[in-house]
């Protein structure tokens, strides 16, 4: 379809974009091995000493744990509510459907700082202390859309006649869900959940307003960058996070590509 020249151009462009996306990350990873803590280029020497420093730091370890906790909590809520939403909106047409779709885009579409401020005021007025749960609520609110998108995309690809067929064969609601619906959407749920977790893990702006004195990993990183005295530790943390997230993202991609147990073409 496309000319050979166009193909070569596109390949070159793709390579350029991938390089553009990755070079800064690789630069920071190289800095993780920088012997000195002055961030100039080329690095003065290579060393792994900062890995030990990062691990020994209890604040960093605590922040990592809190990030994981918040991520798991937010993902759990997001998966449940996002799926309910997907089924509610996708399978039924009713008045106000578009309005509801629109409303749910808001947490992602509006600037994070607005969401953050709003939740902060809300907690203040409600007299709720800031804790891991306030972080979870904040994250879940915009993570819902991620799961919703994934599940809806999958539902669009599966025909509703499968449900009808199942019911024609005598299955009740629960059996239909368990044997027909669930296998179809399971992998999209996991894919959406993994992406939601990623979004929650990395979030800074809303978290800043909902974490109070608690620190998630991104908040710690932000604090350290401002302090400017522990930058090598920041580089190490980034490298670790990158390595730790390769697997879930690859898994998420493979699951999302999958069309579920029941193939539909």
């Amino acid at each position: 379809m496309e000319t050979r020249r166009l193909r070569i151009g596109l390949v070159a462009w793709t390579v350029f974009i991938v390089a553009f996306l990755w070079v800064p990350l690789l630069v920071i990873c190289t800095y993780a091995f920088n012997k000195s803590n002055i961030q100039d280029w080329p690095p003065a020497g290579l060393s792994t000493k900062w890995f030990g420093t990062a691990w020994d730091n209890p604040d960093v370890r605590d922040a990592f744990v809190l990030s994981v906790k918040a991520g798991v909590g937010a993902t759990a809520f997001a998966v449940v509510f996002g799926t309910l939403l997907a089924f509610g909106l996708q399978r039924f047409h009713f008045f106000g459907r578009d309005v509801i779709s629109f409303l749910f885009i808001l947490p992602i579409a509006l600037p994070g700082i607005v969401t953050g401020m709003a939740l902060n005021r809300f907690y203040d007025v409600a007299g709720v202390g800031l804790s891991v749960w306030t972080i979870v609520i904040g994250h879940a609110t915009f993570c819902m859309v991620i799961v919703f998108n994934n599940v809806v995309a999958r539902l669009r690809r599966t025909s509703p006649s499968l449900i009808e067929a199942s019911q024609d064969l005598g299955a009740d609601g629960w059996q239909t869900f368990r044997f027909v619906t669930w296998p179809t959407i399971a992998t999209s749920l996991v894919a959406g959940g993994l992406l939601a977790f990623a979004l929650s893990f990395d979030e800074v702006i809303v978290t800043y307003f909902t974490a109070g004195s608690n620190n998630t990993l991104p908040l710690i990183i932000f604090g350290y960058i401002r302090e400017g005295l522990r930058l090598p530790v920041v580089n190490v943390i980034v490298l670790a996070v990158l390595l730790l997230t390769v697997v879930p993202v690859v898994v998420s991609v493979r699951l999302a590509r999958d069309t579920g147990v029941l193939r539909q073409r």
Binding site: I100, L110, D172, V249
Partner: protein
Amino acid sequence: MAVDASSAGPALRGARRNLSAFFWRRPWLKVTALLGPPLAWLVLIYLAALVALLISGFWTSDFFTGKIVHDWTLENFKQIFSLSDTTYLRIAWTTIWMAAAVTVTDAILAFPIAYYMARIARPRTRALLFVLVLLPLWSSYIVRVYAWRVILQENGILNWALHGVGLPDANLAFTNTSMWIVFSYVWLPFMILPVFAALERIPDNYLEASADLGARGFRTFRSVILPLALPGLVAGSIFTFSLTLGDYLTPVLIGGANAQFIGNVVFNNVGVANNVPFAAAYAVLPVLVIALYLAIARKLGAFEAL
């Protein structure tokens, strides 16, 4: 594996059947049960908070203690929309301009790679590219921004590379150009993915039909591919535009003295100046801009492409 009808006792099965039939006969009840919890969450937590925040724009804060004074006034809005001191309007304009520039840049950068991924690459390559585009989203946003600061600074890798080729310093550190580069960099995956999804959905036979009708490459692109990809582009632009509009961290870490954007002004008023009412009042502006953008995007079908 046969549907295991005997896995539950007869009483439970009977109850389940009755429940299923109940819901089947009343679809609106099913919808309510499905949508109820998420809607309740959104309305009672998020929308309520949002409304409360926007209302506080009509109040002021005591400059000394930072406490909110619940006297209704238009003072904040007068200051923001003042025509004698256009500071806040200018800041908003600069931000919108930057958001637009970043959106256009990302659209241009993303399209070719999305096209390649969607229509030319083999499945293995496509999966690999997908991961390569998605993974940077996973690394912490502020570190990606900080990486650019390290690259662009006076003794950083960019100048080192330029010196190596005999060119002078780029002097990009802490300029609005560097902000534009960084914003485009950070949001690029958000643009690539929806465009990729939209392009992937174009059936092959559309393009074949277009060729059969005599259209050459560019004509097909203009009349068939681009319109079908548009929802994806607009969907991606929702991210790039609104994320740039509200961002505060990038101006602080990368921006120079000229980097006064809506995001950091709002943040300074809330996180620093203890003037939540003013911040809320100012936040109304990006909210309105984005609401308008979303309305237009919806007309262009972007919501289907998200």
